[in-house]
């Protein structure tokens, strides 16, 4: 049951044709893990918190840098040098004090990934490098947990929702583990609002996933900020994928 406070707080959601008390309760009971609290994670987590995602788990090992403030909108000038996960949790609990927020100051790696994603109803990959992205993809596929992956650089964004139970491809089918890493965000540069566009799209997709309204699994959405256009590409599973195909050597 929703409380009177929740009826008022989520009133604009509850008015929607495709959303009601049942969906709001589903959100309230959901555990959403956001890995990476940079630009994407700051944007995504704000809308998830505001929408009433019941338990938010925030994972990042980094501290706030002056050059982050151009796009990582949960942090303030006074927080330079402070832990991102902890400060993001603090800001989000001010936004919505009726949800549970857990901050984990650690870096996702192949040893802790399974434990980090375990019990999540959906995972958001908001990290800034391919290695973390493969680790998270593999852990979600092993645990059968839906994954909403987002990325942003320069004027370009990419967004994809993956459901291990479905037949489409996974992140490693799109970018096999020999794909070359490009320079980190700070060097490539990124338009501040772009991480907002992609991060809030991840929150949007996550809410659709949680409330059973998601319909574009395995579709790579690319955003071209120079043209202000989105494109869609379907990603089939690769028979040779070491992450999502049974019987393929998993040691890669």
């Amino acid at each position: 049951m929703l409380t009177d406070h929740e009826y008022l707080r989520y009133g604009a959601s509850l008015c929607l044709d495709t959303f009601g008390e049942e969906q709001q309760m589903t959100l309230k009971c959901a555990r959403v893990t956001v890995i990476g609290l940079g630009g994407l994670g700051c944007a995504a987590s704000q809308y998830l918190a505001a929408a009433g995602a019941g338990t938010l788990v925030l994972v990042d090992d980094d501290t706030v840098q002056l050059s982050n403030l151009q796009r990582q909108v949960l942090y303030t000038s006074e927080q330079i040098g402070a832990e991102k996960a902890h400060n993001a949790a603090k800001a989000l609990s001010q936004l919505n004090n009726t949800i549970a927020i857990q901050a984990k100051t650690l870096r996702v790696n192949k040893d802790n990934a399974q434990e980090l994603v375990a019990g999540s109803d959906v995972v958001l990959d908001c990290t800034d490098n391919l290695t973390s992205r493969w680790i998270i993809n593999k852990a979600c596929y092993q645990a059968g947990i839906p994954l909403v992956t987002g990325a942003a650089e320069g004027l370009h964004g990419q967004l994809m929702s993956l459901k291990p139970a479905e037949q489409h491809g996974c992140y490693a089918c799109l970018y096999p583990p020999d794909t070359e890493e490009r320079p980190a965000c700070e060097r490539t540069g990124v338009w501040g609002p772009l991480v907002g566009i992609i991060g809030t799209s991840q929150a949007f997709q996550a809410i659709r996933v949680l409330t059973g309204q998601h319909s574009d699994w395995g579709v790579l959405h690319t955003f071209d900020g120079a043209r202000m256009t989105w494109s869609q590409f379907y990603l089939p599973a690769s028979a040779h994928c070491s992450h999502c195909q049974e019987g393929v050597c998993k040691s890669q």
Partner: protein, 66 residues
């Protein structure tokens, strides 16, 4: 034959493969994904996948920042 690559019309040999196109475009082969008619073609299939006149090809550069 004529195909479209990233919204630009180009001429390419009849029956050219995705691999030949990628080479002709001088794309960094290990930092891209390729879609033909809005479906991703896996890297291991680039040398077998033949293109046809009118195909719409998108070469998508990897984006990993956050």
């Amino acid at each position: 034959m004529q195909i479209s690559v990233n919204n630009q019309s180009i001429q390419i040999d009849e029956e050219a493969t995705v691999a030949a196109l990628v080479k002709a475009q001088k794309s960094q082969t290990r930092a891209i994904a390729v879609a033909v008619n809005q479906q991703i073609v896996h890297r291991e299939n680039w040398s077998e996948h033949r293109l046809h006149g009118g195909d719409v090809v998108d070469i998508v550069t990897v984006v990993a920042g956050g």
